[in-house]
């Protein structure tokens, strides 16, 4: 497990790269002059309660597209709080069963959203297929999910006593399936793979189209004619 300690340094490096990218955006934003909010308070509230949580800007462009984006968006938020800011979820005092159920649910929504996005790129939006940034973003999301899921399965598999295994519906079922197939997923390599993919994903946010993960909500609150 000595290698694991190096990941801490990698994590620090990732934060630095992230900060570097985001700081350029902040410097650009604050070089502008202040003007009255076009959407005013109404626009701000519309941003908080409508445009950000329900992605209303996308819904009129197609239901399938909205479903894909909304699924990815809400499950991304879940994973963000679950793994990076768990104290936020503690506030809701979920019991373990509910927590596992929600985790499974968002995991399913996440991968469904990605599959719909991929499906659209083969049918309704063939024009986006040659785009590196688009390919990269979807691949990273898929990579984060897949490595994370396999990691969870391997973690469950590592508990020999089936009765003591956590009750993740999808994860536990998959662990059982792999057990039956006599496939034992290697926990440590999967941990490295997952952590490295997540860190690359996080570091690349300000430098790719993924930057809209944080710029768009800020814009929706303050910078839009629609708030």
């Amino acid at each position: 497990m000595e290698l694991l300690s190096y990941l801490k340094y990698l994590k620090l490096g990732v934060y630095f790269v992230l900060l570097l990218g985001i700081s350029s955006h902040f410097l650009i934003w604050f070089s502008g002059f202040f003007e009255k909010l076009e959407g005013g308070l109404k626009g701000f509230l519309k941003g908080i309660f409508l445009r950000i949580p329900f992605q209303t800007g996308i819904v009129r462009l197609g239901v399938l597209r909205w479903i894909a984006h909304f699924f990815i968006f809400i499950s991304f938020l879940w994973f963000l709080f679950f793994y990076w800011f768990p104290s936020v979820l503690k506030f809701f005092s979920f019991n373990q069963r509910a927590l596992f159920f929600l985790h499974d649910l968002f995991s399913a929504l996440f991968i469904s959203g990605i599959f719909i996005a991929i499906f659209r790129r083969f049918f309704s939006r063939k024009d986006t297929r040659g785009e590196f940034e688009d390919f990269y973003s979807i691949s990273m999301l898929l990579g984060v999910w897949l490595s994370g899921f396999l990691l969870q399965v391997s973690k469950i598999q590592s508990i020999d006593d089936v009765a003591r295994r956590p009750e993740f519906f999808i994860g536990s079922t998959m662990a059982e399936l792999f057990d039956n197939l006599a496939i034992h997923l290697p926990f440590v390599p999967l941990l490295y793979i997952h952590v490295i993919i997540v860190l690359i994903f996080v570091a690349s946010i300000p430098w790719t189209k993924l930057v809209h993960i944080f710029t768009l909500p800020i814009k929706e609150l303050f910078g839009g004619r629609n708030g």
């Binding site: 502008g32 076009e38 992605q55 462009l61 024009d127 710029t215 768009l216 910078g223 839009g224 004619r225």
Partner: protein
Amino acid sequence: MAEFSLSENLSIFDLLNISACASCRECYLYCPVYDVDRRSALTPREKLKKLVSILKKERGLLASLFGPRVKDEEIKDFLSALYECSVCAQCREVCPAGIDTPKLWERIRANMVSSGYGPLPQQKTISQSIRNYDNPWMQPRGMRGKWAERAFKEGRISRPVQDITKNRAKVLYYVGCTASYDQNITEVAINFVELMNIAGIEFGILGPREKCCGSTPLRIGDYATFEQQAIANIELFTELKVDTVVFSCSGCFKTMNQDYREVKRLPFRTLHLVQFLLELMEEKKLVPVKEVPLKITYHDPCHLGRHNKLYEEPREILRRIPGIELIEMKRSREFSRCCGAGGGVKAGFPHINNAMTDMRIEDAEGTGADELVTACPFCYQSLQLGIQRKNSYLKIRDVTELLIRSVK
């Protein structure tokens, strides 16, 4: 050339808009300029990307530490893409992030002008002409109201049109440069005036005292000329104590209804003629009775539709005319394809304007309609020339032309 800074004239919120692009390519699917010139640099997404890249070199972290490093060629390349856009707001309409691109392009164009990069050489004469003659075509001021005199002499209007500076009235008809000077378009003004006469409305025009609204200078970034025109017009209308100003041109209407309000408070109502005519129809002052058996399609002018959300008013007028069969084009209302005349494209890139108009005419032909109707003299002019150039079977009409046939 003045020291250049792209973000000079931009607010925090404009800059937030620039970095909010999710690169989804939705604008690629709808941009009417990209439909005729397949260079991706022209698309809103690529322009936003380029902007972020230039802004980073100008104001980003490295620029803050070591100084800006934007190359002149980069600005010039961006300038060309920035001006090859009719500011039709189609991209804003389809952008899931709701990025206010027209406002951005206009503000950045203003930066380009104040730093000496813009406007394009072909566009400079427009501002000069407006400053010298109060119209973009170097026509003498005295000729501005001649259409009204001629129309009365020819018996095309039942009463002489009043000069509002001499005979005060509550309603001012602001004719606009295109309908005043272009012989092929004065028809729009004549029809509207006669509709006002039929409805018994006391109104007047400014004649030689009418000044260009400043729309084109504003779109090409010449804010000084726009502001000069705006202040002169607002002061004149205020001095005349008019209650309502009615416009036939969607561009003039957009400019006064929205952009003038950022310059000064307007103590009068601003209405496009489709709104005013519909009010008169509601009050039964105009009742379409005669059958006009025509199969038509309607082109939404960008400044009336997307910019002012007036989609239903012109359609409602057309629906109330007996005999009219309105067939919608595949791209209508908020998705209406721009005719390409606006935003300085007509002067700066006439071949792009022509190609865009041609596409719009093909859209109209695709409906099987006999006539193409619009509610803007500027679109009318562009579509009329396109119909001639393409030798299309379509006839171009203004909403007023069909209405007068039904009420007269």
